[in-house]
C-alpha cells in the first residue's frame, strides 16, 4: 500500500467531500423541512432540485447567446442565476404540493408517497420533453465562466478552483439565511409551531396550509440553489441526474435526524465526506478490487444501518409513529 499517496491526496479528497457535503446538505433541507411538517417523504424533491439546475443552464445559455455572459461581471451573473433557479424550484415545489399532495392529506401514509414517486417520474420526463422540444437536446453542459476556473495553490500538491470556493460560500450563505428565517422570524416560529402540532398551531391563528406551502417554497428554493451550484460545479446535467443525489440527500437527512434542520446540514457534510473518502480510498485500500463504483452502495448501506440501529439519526428526536 502506498501510504505516501494516501497522505498526498488527503487534502483534495477532503475538499471534494466538503463540496459534496454542502450540496447534499442544501438538498437534504428540502426533505427534512417537509418531513418535519407533514411526516412525508417528498420523493419528487430530487426533480425539484434538478429543475433548478435546468433553469440555471437555460439562463446562462441565453446570456451567452446574447453575448452578455462575458460582458456582465460574474458575481452578478451568478447571483442572478441562483435567484432564478431558487424561484423556479420553489414555485415548482409549491405547485406540486398543491396538485399532488394536498388532496391526499390525511390519506393512509403510503398514498401520498406513491403520488410523490409518480410526480418524480413525471417531472423527469417533463423536463426531458421541454428541453427536447426547445433545444433538441436534454444533456446540457453549463457554459464556463473563465474566472470560475482559476485555481489557487493551497499547498504544493493541492489547489482549489474559484468555483469550489463559490459553491462553498453560496451553500454557507443559504444555510445561514435559512437558520435565521427559521429561528429569528415570526414566519419561522409559525413553521416550527406547525411542525410541532398542526391542530394547536391552527388554533393559535396560524394558517396551516399557507405555512405548509411556505415550507415547500423554502425547501424547494434551497433545492434550486443546490441545483444551480451542482451545475456550476460538475458541468453536465440531464433530467435523470437528480435522482441519485436526491436519494443520497435523503440519506443525509435521515443520518442527521429527519425533521431536524441542523441535523440535515450535519448529515449532508458527514455523508459527503464519507462518500468522497470511500470513492478515493476504496480502490487504493483493496488493491483495485473494489473501486469508486461502490460509493453508491456505501451511501445506501449507511442509510440502512442508520435506520436499523439509530432511526432517530445523529441529532434527531425520537421519530413518532403515526397511526
Amino acid at each position: 500500500m502506498d501510504v505516501e499517496l494516501l497522505v498526498r491526496i488527503f487534502p483534495e479528497v477532503l475538499l471534494d467531500g466538503i463540496i459534496l457535503g454542502f450540496m447534499y446538505a442544501l438538498i437534504a433541507l428540502g426533505y427534512t423541512m417537509v418531513y418535519g411538517v407533514l411526516e412525508f417523504i417528498n420523493f419528487a424533491h430530487s426533480e425539484i432540485f434538478i429543475a433548478g439546475a435546468f433553469v440555471g443552464v437555460e439562463i446562462l445559455l441565453g446570456l451567452k447567446s446574447a453575448g452578455l455572459l462575458d460582458a456582465l461581471p460574474w458575481p452578478i451573473v451568478l447571483v442572478l442565476v441562483l435567484i432564478a433557479g431558487m424561484a423556479a424550484s420553489g414555485l415548482l415545489a409549491v405547485t406540486v404540493e398543491r396538485i399532488a399532495y394536498r388532496p391526499l392529506r390525511g390519506a393512509p401514509r403510503l398514498i401520498p408517497l406513491i403520488s410523490a414517486i409518480g410526480i418524480s417520474f413525471f417531472l423527469q420526463d417533463l423536463i426531458r420533453l421541454v428541453e427536447s422540444l426547445w433545444r433538441n437536446a436534454f444533456n446540457l453542459v453549463y457554459p464556463t465562466i473563465d474566472v470560475l476556473n482559476l485555481r489557487f495553490e493551497l499547498t504544493q500538491t493541492t489547489d482549489v478552483s474559484v468555483k469550489s470556493l463559490v459553491v462553498i460560500a453560496g451553500a454557507l450563505a443559504m444555510l445561514g439565511a435559512l437558520h435565521l428565517i427559521v429561528n429569528r422570524t415570526k414566519v419561522g416560529t409559525a413553521i416550527r409551531a406547525v411542525a410541532e402540532d398542526q391542530a394547536a398551531a391552527s388554533l393559535m391563528g396560524i394558517d396551516v396550509n399557507r405555512i405548509i406551502s411556505l415550507t415547500f417554497l423554502i425547501g424547494g428554493a434551497m433545492g434550486g440553489a443546490a441545483g444551480v451550484l451542482f451545475g456550476v460545479q460538475y458541468g453536465l446535467i440531464n433530467p435523470y441526474s437528480g435522482f441519485i443525489p436526491g436519494l443520497k440527500a435523503f440519506t443525509a437527512a435521515v443520518l442527521g435526524g429527519i425533521g431536524n434542520i441542523p441535523g440535515a446540514m450535519l448529515g449532508g457534510l458527514v455523508l459527503g465526506l464519507l462518500e468522497a473518502f470511500a470513492a478515493a480510498y476504496l480502490s487504493l485500500l483493496t488493491g483495485g478490487a473494489f473501486g469508486a463504483e461502490y460509493k453508491d452502495i456505501f451511501a445506501f448501506s449507511v442509510l440502512i444501518l442508520i435506520l436499523i440501529f439509530r432511526p432517530k439519526g445523529l441529532l434527531g428526536e425520537v421519530v413518532r409513529e403515526r397511526a
Partner: protein, 397 residues
C-alpha cells in the same frame, strides 16, 4: 343472452380483424379489449372461461402466426402479470411498499444466465458449462428458491421499519443489486459487468414448437399457476394475516399473528414469482445485462399493481396488461406514426412536422406514463380499477 352473443361475436370479430389487418395496432388493442369485456360481461361462467381459454390457447397463437410481434407482446404481458401478482402480495396484501422488486427478478435471471451459459466456466474453470437445456426446468425452481432466500435476507434487517422508511430501504436494496450486477466483473467475474451475459441456453422445445409459441405457452402456464396460488393464498389464514398486518400491525400482533414470520413469508412469496419469471426471461432473451433491472422497472410493476387495484388479482392482471401494452404498443406506435407523418411532410396548422426536433421521441416517455398513472390513481381512485373486495369496503369513507 344478448351479452353472451355479443361477447362471442366480439371476440370472433376482433380475432378475424387482427388476421385481416395484422399490422394495425388499433385492431390488436380491440382484440385485447374484447377479452376484458368477456371477463366483465354478465354471461354464464362456463362460457366466460371457455371463451377466455379459446382466445388465449388458440386465437392468440394464431394471431402470432400472422404477426410474430404480437406474440412477443403477449409473452411480455404474461411476464409482467406474474411480476405484478408477486408485488401484489407484498404491497397489496401485506402493505409493505417494496420499491426494489426488480432485484428479485434479477436474481432469478442471473441464476440461469450464469449456469446456462459458458460464463460459468469463467467462474469455476473447466469447460463443463453451459448446462444441458433441460436443466432450465430445474432452474425454474432454483430461481424461485434463490429469489425467495434473497427476499428473506432483505426482509430480516428491515422488519423493524415501517411505511415510507421501508420503501426507501427497499429502493436502496434494488439499487445495490443493480450496482453489484454492474460491477461484479472483478475481483471475481460473476456477472460480466455492464457487458452482460450471452449466449444463454434455451430448453429443447416439445413437439418442435417455434420458440415464440413455446415461451408464450410456458408464460401462460406459469401465469395460470401464479394466479391459482394467489387465489388460494388470499383466502387462507396466511392471506388474512397479511391483510391484518396491512390494516393495523399492533392489532394484528395482539390477535396472535406472528408478525416476523408473516412479513418474511410475504417477501419470500412475492420474490419467488419474480425469480421464476427471471429464469424464463433470461432464457427468452438469450442475453441479459444490468440495464434490464433498473428502478424504472420496479416502478413500472408498482404502477401496474396500483392501476389495477392493490390487493386485487384481476386488478394486477389488468394493470400489467394495460401498462405493458401502453409501453410496447401505444407509445411505440405513436412514435412510428409520427415518423411516417414527418417523412410524408405533413403539416399541422401550418407547422411542418418535419421541423419537430429529432430528440423528441414519444417512445421514450415511459416514465411520464408511469408517473401520470401513479398520481392520477392516487388522487382519484386509490382503490384501483378492479378494487379488491375487502379494500373497497375499507376505502368507502
Amino acid at each position: 343472452m344478448i351479452q353472451a352473443l355479443l361477447t362471442v361475436g366480439l371476440v370472433a370479430l376482433s380475432a378475424l380483424a387482427v388476421a385481416t389487418f395484422p399490422r394495425s395496432i388499433l385492431v390488436f388493442l380491440l382484440f385485447q379489449g374484447s377479452l376484458v369485456f368477456v371477463y366483465r360481461a354478465r354471461i354464464p361462467e362456463w362460457l366466460r372461461w371457455s371463451l377466455l381459454a379459446v382466445a388465449l390457447l388458440f386465437l392468440m397463437p394464431a394471431i402470432g402466426y400472422f404477426n410474430g410481434y404480437y406474440l412477443e407482446v403477449a409473452t411480455q404481458v404474461g411476464i409482467f402479470v406474474a411480476l405484478a401478482l408477486g408485488l401484489n402480495i407484498v404491497v397489496g396484501l401485506a402493505g409493505l411498499l417494496d420499491l426494489g422488486y426488480v432485484a428479485f427478478f434479477a436474481v432469478g435471471a442471473y441464476s440461469w444466465a450464469i449456469f446456462g451459459s459458458p460464463h460459468a466456466n469463467v467462474i469455476f474453470g473447466g469447460s463443463g458449462f453451459p448446462l444441458a437445456g433441460w436443466w432450465f426446468y430445474v432452474f425454474l425452481f432454483v430461481g424461485l428458491g434463490a429469489a425467495a432466500i434473497t427476499g428473506i435476507l432483505l426482509g430480516l434487517p428491515v422488519l423493524r421499519l415501517h411505511g415510507d422508511y421501508l420503501a426507501i430501504v427497499t429502493l436502496g436494496f434494488g439499487e445495490v443489486i443493480r450496482v453489484l450486477a454492474n460491477n461484479l466483473d472483478k475481483p471475481i467475474n460473476l456477472t460480466n459487468g455492464p457487458k452482460g451475459i450471452t449466449p444463454i441456453s434455451r430448453p429443447p422445445t416439445p413437439f418442435g414448437l417455434p420458440y415464440g409459441e413455446y415461451f408464450y405457452f410456458l408464460v401462460l402456464l406459469i401465469v395460470v399457476a401464479v394466479v391459482i396460488v394467489n387465489r388460494r393464498l388470499e383466502d387462507s389464514h396466511i392471506g388474512r394475516a397479511w391483510e391484518a398486518i396491512r390494516e393495523d400491525e399492533l392489532a394484528a400482533r395482539s390477535m396472535g399473528v406472528p408478525l416476523v414470520r408473516m412479513k418474511l413469508m410475504a417477501f419470500a412469496c412475492g420474490a419467488s414469482f419474480a425469480g421464476v419469471m427471471g429464469v424464463l426471461f433470461s432464457a427468452k432473451q438469450v442475453f441479459i445485462n444490468p440495464e434490464s433491472f433498473t428502478f424504472l422497472e420496479s416502478i413500472g410493476v408498482l404502477a401496474m399493481v396500483i392501476l389495477g387495484g392493490m390487493g386485487s388479482i384481476p386488478g394486477a392482471v389488468l394493470g400489467a396488461t394495460v401498462v405493458t401494452v401502453l409501453n410496447l404498443q401505444v407509445l411505440k406506435g405513436f412514435s412510428l406514426w409520427l415518423n411516417e407523418l414527418k417523412n410524408a411532410g405533413v403539416t399541422v396548422l401550418g407547422y411542418s412536422l418535419a421541423d419537430l426536433p429529432t430528440q423528441f421521441e414519444p417512445a421514450k416517455y415511459e416514465r411520464m406514463v408511469f408517473g401520470i398513472i401513479l398520481v392520477l390513481m392516487m388522487i382519484f381512485r386509490p382503490q384501483g380499477i378492479f378494487p379488491a373486495r375487502r379494500r373497497q369496503r375499507e376505502l368507502a369513507r
